[in-house]
Amino acid sequence: MKKLIALLLALVMCLSLVACGTSDDATTGDAATGDATTEDTAAGDDAVAETIKVGMVTDVGGVNDQSFNQTSWEGLQALAAEDPTFEVSYLESKTDADYASNIESFIDEDYDLIICVGYMLANATREAAEANPDQMFAIIDDNSCADLPNVACLMFAQEQSSYLVGVVAGLATESNTVGYVQGQVSDSMNQFGVGFISGVLSVNPEATVLQYNVNSFADAPGGSTAATNMITNGADVIFHAAGGTGNGVIEACAANGVYAIGVDTDQSPLAPEYVLTSAMKRVDNAVQDISKAVKDGTFTAGTHLYDMTNGGVDIAPTQDLLTEEMIAAVEEAKAGILDGSIVVPTTAAEVPEFTLAAAE
């Protein structure tokens, strides 16, 4: 026993020594390059023309949140795979206090573009952007930094995509009852709900929309319970905007043989026979666009609105479960949104008026 331990220890020591040895070298190397580049940060554009470094800071949801953090990261990864001049990486924020230090890390590493995912990072982004006027930033789902000369605010008309799935739900329901499960009450979550309800009512004014807020993005049983409750009360199509809680929603729908509608990404793989469609928010396109703009030198600050017109939001490409009638209705709604004849409401207060107008 003792011999074994001694042997193990010896091995460990060697390993650690190797690790430490190399680490020292690399450390000094890193520091040296760091110093070199800090001095010509201003002229850095030419010097780093070969690689464009794009860093992304997640909110507390983490990089696998099955929502905008994940979509952003997938977008960046795809970009790096197709164009090797891009070097991409991310930092995860575990708490609200991590945002500033994560952003600073990317600044210290001389990243060309820092993408802050989510409105929770607005304060930290503003502070960092004001302190580092030469650094380019992009922030998703926030418009409060639009006045700064170095921040691109990537905004999404998510109500448009949820409107489209609402149209599908309104046509798909046989019981005239549909459900909406959300993970948290917040402006952007509420917009999903408002768009969905408007979409449902636009094609099916008789329909009832049941709503429930599970108050968690990680409570799959809670999602299942909420969905089963809605199904028991007659719902036969349920839309969720609830991250991991949504797994439970989709699960309950599959178990009861009713349709679920996914969010953010094409969630059809979660239950191909029951996920009718998904409301897509193409955060991946947006982060690719802004990264390419940095490469081409066409980066512009201010609000960049991603909506139906530029493919920023859309309905999922998987349409196996949709009927001809639904596809036609979706196309019609899309056309209406594109030509401006349909303006999807963004707050609950506008819904009644919108529905009345749509009925006429």
């Binding site: 190399t22 680490s23 450390t27 930092l91 230090s101 993005f217």
Partner: protein
Amino acid sequence: MSKLEKILQSAFFRTIISILIGFAVGAIFLLIVNISPAEAYAKLFSSIFSNPKSLSYCVVYATPLIILGLSVAFSFRTGVFNIGAEGQFVVGSMAACVVGILVPAPPIVLPILCIAAAAAAGALWGIIVGFLKVKWGINEVLSMIMFNWIAFYLSNYIADLPIIKNEGNAEATKNVQEAAMILLPKSWIDSLGLCNSASWGILIAAILAVVVYIIIEKTSLGYSLKAVGFNRDAAEYGGINANRSVLIALAISGAMGGIAGATNLLGIGQRIAIFTAQESYGFQGIIAALIGASNPLGVFVGGLFYGAIKYGGSRLNIIGAPSEVVNVIMGTVIFLIAISHIFNFRLRKKKKGGDK
């Protein structure tokens, strides 16, 4: 016993060995994900030591861990296991946040008020658990687990009240007033090249470490608390009111949990977001206490170490390495510390019962 033997058998040496093996185990997992351990650890350490700014960030990250570690260590020494540090941290942060937003007071006074409020809230959270224990005999581990979650939702509830909530679209409270912050003077930060969140928090942590040491080792209160923790019946026989001791121990422990929340808020947080998941500061505090062997000085050093690894480890993502490897390393370290008495580097052989 020779000098060498003394060093080999010291707790400090064992901890160092545990840490080295922890890194070796981490290296194995890095190899599994096809990342060069040398490169990953280089990144880890360069993120910590590259400049005064990153070092000061490590200290900022370590501060709440040290104070929570002290809270947990104090509870260990007095015979309760403060698994409720998480909840005390949360209510402490919230109390400091409410005071920091709403109370009009000048600088210096306001931070003191905030910290006092946090200490009171944390102590209350500890006392409730203690009261349930002494009055109805309810196991403290059970009620602490419940009260951690109650604190979580209570904090969310308060953060959502209109008077506290952020006016923008962020799901968080307003920022506390500038006057409430305990940051170091701007001129110091600039001249030393520290991070913007460098604060007096570490000083508060140091003072608390001394206070805990004095209470435990130098006062009769500490003596009676330890006695109850060691053997409740014997202590009662010796004339110590055991129930009162449990309440005091939990109150002190809870107050420190609350102060940890306040220093984090007034130093780096500035606001409280509506939680979507527990932030697990409490468990990280337990880790700090365990690395430091529940000794105030040890906890201080252990907390600094963990804070640095936590900060540096999160940077592993930059080179594509999973930052969760830090959890593997820390888990291994704690595990080895738990069994560290088997690293028995005796120069002479001595038979021991039970050893195979």
